[in-house]
């Protein structure tokens, strides 16, 4: 079991493109399926406003069309004179000031209640850390040393996500849960949800963050009862057992390296890893450097120190996110890509 899982992880590393999350079929026309209790308030208010808007839009368009048809001038030459009507009517104007006011007050109150609920995680909620970086979401689970690029949660359990970013602002957006929160470098924000449906739902980055903003996708997998614990145990076991270049191959996918570095020789946001080990590379500043173990380690810990010519300083630091075992694994993996 463990062996087969580690095999699949390693082979996943060589998949050319990460799989796109699937947008699940929705019973609604306007909205994606609702899969968390946090959706209820939003969907109810959205529906009320949809009908209200439809009513006002139809009433206004009807009046416009009717007046245009009924009072349309014959021709300029006919020189018709408009009928005299009052040019101001206090009762009428008061009515149509008060009615919109009476309509928006409950909308405001409903939105306020929903918002307070969205922003107040229940006590005792399970905590998962989310880190936004160009261009990958990394999720840290209690008890799991290395982060994962997919969000796994148990069904019917309140989950609080503690969110931050390492480089620029991102925004964690789960449409099926109707919730979203910016990931801001230098501070923590949070959101919570309680999934009500087992299944897979897409996660997007909603705040523009540069080149591959639109590829900063992930998935939330809602496990049936017991499934989450099983997944966690398997992953912990697999992560511990991997060493050397297999560990590097796993991290290449899970840590977001593959977002910018290919392993087939074609440059992306950063240089391709294929055949880079041992090469002399020109730098944007200073003299050329030989890509050896020390340069690779420096590039992970302090990526801005020496940038290979032709690339921009876009990489976030992995200081504190990779153990020595992880770094060794990645270096072995890069060495193996001849």
């Amino acid at each position: 079991m463990i062996v087969s899982l580690s095999m699949s992880l390693a082979s996943a590393a060589f998949a050319a493109e990460p799989q796109l999350p699937k947008l699940p079929a929705s019973p609604y026309f306007w909205m994606p399926p609702s899969a968390s209790i946090t959706s209820e308030n939003t969907d109810a208010l959205y529906n009320v406003m949809l009908w209200m808007s439809l009513f006002f839009a139809v009433a206004i368009f009807y009046a416009m069309a009717r007046f245009c048809l009924k009072y349309r001038a014959k021709s300029r030459a006919a020189n018709e004179i408009a009928q005299k009507t009052s040019e101001h009517n206090t009762m009428l104007e008061l009515t149509w000031s008060v009615i919109p006011l009476l309509i928006v007050i409950p909308l405001f109150v409903g939105g306020f209640k929903g918002y307070v609920n969205l922003r107040t995680p229940p006590k005792g909620a399970m905590e998962i850390r989310a880190t936004g970086q160009k261009w990958k979401w990394l999720f840290n689970y209690p008890g799991l040393g290395t982060p994962d690029d997919t969000l796994h949660v148990p069904v019917n359990t309140s989950v609080r996500m503690v969110i931050n970013a390492v480089d620029v602002i991102h925004s964690l957006y789960i449409p099926s849960f109707r919730t979203k929160m910016d990931a801001v470098p230098g501070r923590y924000t949070d959101l919570w949800f309680k999934a009500t449906q087992v299944g897979e739902f897409p996660i997007f980055c909603a705040e523009y963050c540069g080149t591959s903003h639109s590829d900063m996708l992930s998935r939330v997998i809602v496990h049936p009862p017991g499934g989450y614990e099983q997944w966690l145990a398997n992953t912990i076991a697999a992560a511990d057992s991997l060493t050397g270049k297999d560990r590097g191959a796993m991290l290449y996918e899970k840590q977001g390296c593959s977002t910018c570095h290919t392993i087939d020789g074609s440059p992306k946001v950063g240089p391709s890893w294929k055949g880079i080990f041992g090469k002399m590379e020109a730098m944007t500043a200073g003299s050329p450097i030989k890509v050896d173990e020390n340069y690779l380690r420096e590039s992970m810990m302090d990526p801005q120190a020496h940038i290979v010519m032709g690339f921009s300083p876009a990489m976030p630091t992995y200081q504190g996110k990779l153990s020595d075992k992880d770094i060794d694994g990645l270096i072995e993996f890069i060495k193996s890509l001849k």
């Binding site: 947008l23 839009a57 408009a82 149509w96 925004s171 910016d182 801001v184 470098p185 897409p202 523009y208």
Partner: protein, 567 residues
């Protein structure tokens, strides 16, 4: 005759084609570049704004074409990011903000006040020259390595990207001064240059709206100026203000930015209200219903517009209390806005409605602005905004208001005052066809985006999930329709300058003062300052259409004594 000259202008139907007007008064390119005449400055603004509009529109079509397929269609990630940034920055800073006030306002507002010029003609020229300098800086960024931050320049991304942020931001900084100069000029003009008899409540609604806009321009624009300057200083000298790695706060930038940019939304839409306020009464041959309310509500909206910037930050980590206050004030703005729409429509009741091109644009405005306004309520409801924020729903909403509202009104105003400004009639039939194309195009472009956004499609995405494709294709087809509509407009407007029918002084039967001087107006506007004795929309019944002339003249039955054009 009490006011012989003004009357003479009304009667003489631009027999002045050979005579002297502001277009022919001086010759040579320098007489344009260094002119102090408000009409010429307005015309230069108009040409520049329309050129920028063509450029911004081109970028929009590139963006829409790329979005035809979920993956790569015609360009790579980075080019796409540059395209939507340039589209936004050009449309906001170079087109919509100066569009109605600086271009149409400069040409028309002093005429509506019966004035010879604005209060400070030199400041007016400086404003235009600064616009040009600002535009050059923006285009410099385009030439070096076009900025890719989005028009919002959010930190810390804008501090770290390798594209040419500094020239673009500096361009926006300079354009801010251009905007402040226009605003300052208009405030003083409205206060000091109103003609005898024109009390505040006898001012045309266009003047009211430009006055309200000018107050926002003067008060809000300095904030974006200093914010962009701080960002430039941080980028070049690494002084920590917004960058967390230097001890700064990136969300502070968003507060500063929206402290200007939300009021700036009203800099864009309030002048549009003014244009609609001119067109609807004239083409319904009726006084504006609830004139005082509409006039005052522009000021109310301008004031409240300063207090809602935090509704752009409901998911930025802003406190719940702050969010609640911003949401409540946002709802307050919905009320005067709704009443304006009701008043405009009531004005048409029992009118005599002429569906010429300007009126078609005004009706299109009412339609799209209603949709834009109603969808704004979705975004003001905090819990719903958490879902919709930064999705295509927001993109659709603000395009309905900015493109559908501000640009549609600008097009309406352009057609309404075109005969006045250039002395030629455009081809009315082509005008109506183009207006219909623009209306259909913009609904086809932006309505599907509401559905995309509600379903979870985030904005500023180069790749997207294949499930979203059909709506994107529909939206792109709409954008092409819009493009055809605008190209057609450019074609017949330019052609009218040469082949158009000579315009009479008053082709639509307007009673505001600009219709009293010949088309195009003489260099000094009015030989004798007019005197105002009635409200801005009084006296449609005293005008009569003359078929031979193709325009309106005072109704003869009102006596051989001076007609009543001054009302």
């Amino acid at each position: 005759m009490a006011s012989p000259s003004a009357t003479a202008d009304v009667v003489a139907p631009r027999s002045s084609s050979g005579g002297d007007n502001y277009l022919t008064h001086d010759k040579g390119i320098l007489s344009w570049i260094f002119t102090l005449d408000h009409k010429r400055i307005g015309v230069m603004y108009l040409c520049s704004v329309l050129t920028a509009f063509a450029l911004g529109g081109f970028f929009a079509l590139m963006v829409r074409t790329e979005l035809l397929t979920p993956g790569r269609t015609i360009m790579d990630h980075d080019t796409y990011n540059q395209m939507f940034t340039l589209h936004g920055a050009i449309m906001v800073f170079l087109v919509i903000i100066p569009g109605i006030p600086a271009a149409l306002g400069n040409i028309i507002m002093p005429l509506q006040l019966g004035a010879k010029d604005v209060a400070f003609p030199r400041l007016n020229l400086a404003s235009y020259h600064l616009w040009v300098v600002g535009a050059i800086f923006m285009l410099t960024s385009l030439a070096i390595n076009a900025v890719d931050t989005g028009w919002t320049f959010y930190t810390p991304y804008s501090l770290t990207t390798s594209t040419a942020v500094v020239p673009a931001a500096f361009g926006a900084f300079i354009l801010g001064f251009s905007s402040i100069f226009t605003g300052l000029n208009f405030i003083v003009t409205v206060h000091k240059l109103r003609p005898p008899g024109m009390t505040w409540f006898r001012m045309p609604l266009f003047v009211w709206s430009l006055y309200a806009t000018a107050l926002i321009q003067v008060l809000a624009t300095p904030v974006i100026g200093i914010t962009l300057l701080m960002m430039i200083v941080e980028r070049t000298l690494h002084i920590g203000i917004f960058d967390p790695t230097l001890g700064g706060d990136p969300v502070l930038f968003q507060h500063f930015f929206w402290f200007y940019s939300h009021p700036a939304v009203y800099i864009m839409i309030v002048p549009a209200f003014g244009v609609i306020g001119e067109i609807i009464p004239v083409f319904s041959r009726k006084r504006m219903f609830g004139y005082k309310f509409i006039a005052i509500s522009s000021l109310a909206i301008a004031f409240l517009g300063f207090l809602v910037w935090g509704h752009h930050l409901f998911v930025s980590g802003q406190s719940v209390l702050a969010g609640t206050i911003f949401s409540a004030i946002t709802f307050l703005i919905a009320i005067p806005t709704a009443i304006k729409v009701f008043n405009w429509i009531t004005t048409m009741y029992k009118g005599v409605i002429h569906l010429d091109t300007p009126m078609l644009y005004a009706l299109a405005f009412l339609w799209v602005f209603t949709i834009g306004g109603l969808t704004g309520i979705f975004l003001a409801v905090m819990s719903v905004d958490v879902h919709l924020h930064d999705t295509y729903f927001v993109v659709a909403h603000f395009h309905y208001v900015m493109m559908g509202g501000a640009i549609t009104a600008f097009m309406g105003g352009l057609h309404y005052w075109w005969p006045k400004a250039f002395g030629r009639m455009y081809n009315e039939k082509l005008g109506r066809i183009a207006a219909t194309l623009v209306f259909l195009g913009l609904n086809t472009t932006f309505f599907p985006q509401f559905i995309l956004g509600s379903r979870g499609m985030p904005r500023r995405y180069y790749n997207y999930l294949p499930e979203f494709q059909s709506l994107h294709v529909l939206s792109t087809l709409g954008a092409y329709t819009l493009g055809i509509g605008f190209l057609m407009t450019a074609f017949y407007l330019v052609r009218s300058l040469k082949n158009g029918k000579i315009a009479p002084a008053n082709p639509w039967g307007g009673v505001t003062l600009e219709w009293q001087c010949s088309s195009p107006p003489p260099y000094y506007n009015f030989h004798k300052a007019p005197v105002v004795t009635a409200g801005p929309y009084d006296g449609y019944e005293d005008l009569m259409y003359d078929e031979k002339l193709g325009g309106y003249l005072p109704r003869p039955s009102s006596g051989d004594s001076p007609p009543r054009p001054l009302k």
